[in-house]
Each structure stands twice: as structure tokens, then as C-alpha cells.
């Protein structure tokens, strides 16, 4: 029977959708601690009434929190924007429509990511004054 048996492996085809699919899963796993801890602290334990510029400044005084927030920003935004892309693919079918969609989402993603990144890096403006 040996000669009969198919080598049960193939060259795995690599496509963008396949990579995106994996990305959603890996980023999802990371987002569990990142997003949950963030939400737990900010929305539940601390609460919006305690959060102001001073609070932000105090947390960002720790580089670790800056790194944490940056990771959260990067993963959540990329995961979410790719999720949105997948959702919108359901409703936009033409190749041209889809490529336009990809560009628009990419640009939004980039701008928002930059805004967030600059803030995390720059910290509270005029903070030196405190």
C-alpha cells in the first residue's frame, strides 16, 4: 500500500486573508490581558471621576505603563481595524471597492495610531509646568 499513499502534505498557500485570520487570533490572545486589565483598572476600580490630567501624568511617569498603553493601542487598534475591514468586506464586493476600503481603513488606522503614539510618547502637554 506504501506506494499508494499520498504524501499527506502540501505547500501551504499564503494569502493575505490567511495571515489576517491568524493575526486576529494572536492579537486576540494578547488583548485579553491588555484590554481587560486596562478596562478593569480605568473603568471599574478607578472610575472616570478619578481620571484627569494629573492621573494620566502620574501613570505615564512609569515607563512600563507607557509601554503597556502603547502595546494596547497598537494591538487593539490593529485588531479592531482589521475586524472592521473583515466586516465591511461582507458588504463591499467589487475588487475596486475593496481596495478603496483597504486604503481608507489603512489611512485612518495610521492617523489614529500616530495620534495615540505621539500622545503616549509626548505625555501631557505642558506637564513640565507642574
Amino acid at each position: 500500500m506504501g506506494a499508494q499513499r499520498q504524501p499527506r502534505v502540501v505547500q501551504p498557500p499564503r494569502t493575505f486573508e490567511g495571515t489576517a485570520w491568524k493575526w486576529m487570533r494572536y492579537s486576540g490572545i494578547l488583548l485579553i490581558p491588555l484590554a481587560w486589565i486596562h478596562v478593569l483598572i480605568k473603568d471599574v476600580l478607578v472610575g472616570v471621576h478619578q481620571i484627569d490630567l494629573t492621573y494620566v501624568q502620574r501613570t505615564w511617569a512609569f515607563t512600563l505603563w507607557r509601554i503597556y498603553d502603547f502595546l494596547l493601542l497598537a494591538f487593539a487598534l490593529s485588531h479592531g481595524m482589521n475586524g472592521l475591514r473583515q466586516v465591511l468586506m461582507d458588504y463591499i464586493h467589487s475588487p475596486s471597492g475593496r481596495s478603496r476600503l483597504n486604503w481608507i481603513l489603512f489611512i485612518i488606522w495610521l492617523i489614529v495610531l500616530l495620534m495615540g503614539a505621539v500622545a503616549i510618547l509626548g505625555g501631557v502637554k505642558g506637564a513640565e509646568a507642574f
Binding site: 499508494q4 499513499r5 499520498q6 499527506r8 505547500q11 494569502t15 473583515q86
Partner: protein, 236 residues
């Protein structure tokens, strides 16, 4: 017992828009919904149009939405519905031709795209007999050989409702049947097709396909196996 059927009606020769028609009839708890439709057609309104053939769930003709879920009308008994108010509508995502009849052509077109046939150009054994396959190898793809192409799964899939280009669960099931057949040699080609934009990665694991399949094929599982085969290249 008395049942009330609320049936989606649309005759393009007469109606400008679809509407619902209600019929009240006598039924046995063990009647199939198909029996009720036959009764309506025979004695209430002969213009009601629906497909049917085998009447026992093996030909795949009479897929339709019954009380909000896709089913074969011949495989649901009145007593299994748990209500005497029965709403019957055509499958979603395909064009309604008349009443409960939808145009299945796009469904079959998607099916044909995944090369749903045996591919093996090597010569068969020189004695002219069968290619050998162990019972375990045969078992590997048994589940997906059961598909009757009824369309229940694909038209229960939210991705397909929105985007008819998505091959849909039925096509993937039939690709799976060959990809995991130890005698077949076309897996590479099929997986390349299925890895594209309209392929398996459009599946959001909404699971309606598996819940509804009248052949009880574990469709979402099969789709997951195909996804895994694409990502790892392993076909075991």
C-alpha cells in the same frame, strides 16, 4: 390537531411584491411539513410552488426556512416544531423565483469553483482493481461525503447572505471530502482556491450551517480542518 401555516408567497407574473398567506388545516403530529405543503397545494391553492422529490431527506430539494430556521420540509415533523403556528419562507441569499422556490444556480456555481471531483492522474493499480484505502483513511472524510447539496447551510450563513461570492459552507464541505481522501491528488489546487478572498477565511464561525445541516455534517469542524490544512500544509 389544527395548524396554521403562514407561507411566503410571490408570483412574479402577478405580484409586485411578496406577501404572506395564511392557511389553517388539520394535521397529524407525525405529519411532515412537506405533507402540509402538499395538502395546501392539493386542496387549498394549486398555485403554491415549492420543490420536492424524495420526501425523506435524501435528495435535497425542499430546503426552506421554517419558523426562522433552514430545514428540509420533509425532515421536520409537526410535533418537532413545538408550536402549531408554522411560518414558511424561502431560503435567504438566493433570488426568489416563485413562492418557496429560489434560484439555486449561484449556489451550484460556488460549488463548482472548488473542483468538487476526484483528481488523480496516476494510473490505477495494474491489476485493474481498486486503489487501496484503509478503513481509517476512509473514515477520515466520511462525514463530508454525506452532503446532498441542499443549500441549507450556505443560505443560513450570515457571510453568504451579505456576500454571494463567498463559496459558502456547502462548497467547502465538498472540497473537504476530496482534500482528506487519501486517494486524491488535488488538495494543493483546492487549498489554493480556498485560501483566496472568497474562501474559508470568510467564515466567521457563525455555526448556523452546522446547526441546520439535515445530514448532521459537522460543517464548522470541516471548515476549521480546511483552514488548518491551508495554514500548516498538513492533511491528516
Amino acid at each position: 390537531m389544527q395548524v396554521t401555516l403562514k407561507i411566503f408567497r410571490y408570483n412574479p407574473e402577478k405580484d409586485s411584491a411578496p406577501h404572506y398567506e395564511t392557511y389553517t388545516l388539520e394535521a397529524e403530529p407525525t405529519d411532515r411539513v412537506l405533507d402540509l405543503l402538499e395538502k395546501v397545494k392539493s386542496y387549498h391553492d394549486g398555485t403554491l410552488a415549492f420543490r420536492r422529490s424524495c420526501a425523506h431527506g435524501v435528495c435535497g430539494s425542499d430546503a426552506m426556512r421554517i419558523n426562522g430556521v433552514n430545514r428540509l420540509a420533509c425532515k421536520v415533523l409537526v410535533k418537532d416544531l413545538g408550536t402549531t403556528n408554522i411560518t414558511i419562507e424561502p431560503l435567504l441569499g438566493l433570488k426568489v423565483v416563485k413562492d418557496l422556490i429560489v434560484d439555486m444556480e449561484p449556489f451550484f456555481e460556488n460549488y463548482r469553483k472548488v473542483l468538487p471531483y476526484f483528481i488523480n492522474d496516476e494510473p490505477p493499480p495494474p491489476d485493474g482493481r481498486e486503489r487501496l484505502q484503509t478503513p481509517e483513511e476512509r473514515e477520515r472524510f466520511d462525514d463530508t461525503t454525506k452532503c446532498i447539496l441542499c443549500g441549507v447551510c450556505t443560505t443560513s450563513c450570515p457571510t453568504f447572505w451579505a456576500d454571494g461570492q463567498y463559496f459558502g459552507p456547502a462548497a467547502i464541505v465538498n472540497a473537504h471530502r476530496f482534500i482528506f481522501d487519501s486517494r486524491d491528488r488535488g488538495a494543493q489546487q483546492r487549498l489554493e482556491i480556498l485560501a483566496q478572498d472568497s474562501g474559508v477565511f470568510r467564515c466567521r464561525t457563525a455555526f448556523s450551517c452546522t446547526e441546520a445541516c439535515p445530514r448532521e455534517i459537522q460543517i464548522t469542524k470541516a471548515i476549521a480542518e480546511v483552514k488548518r490544512a491551508i495554514l500548516t500544509g498538513r492533511l491528516d
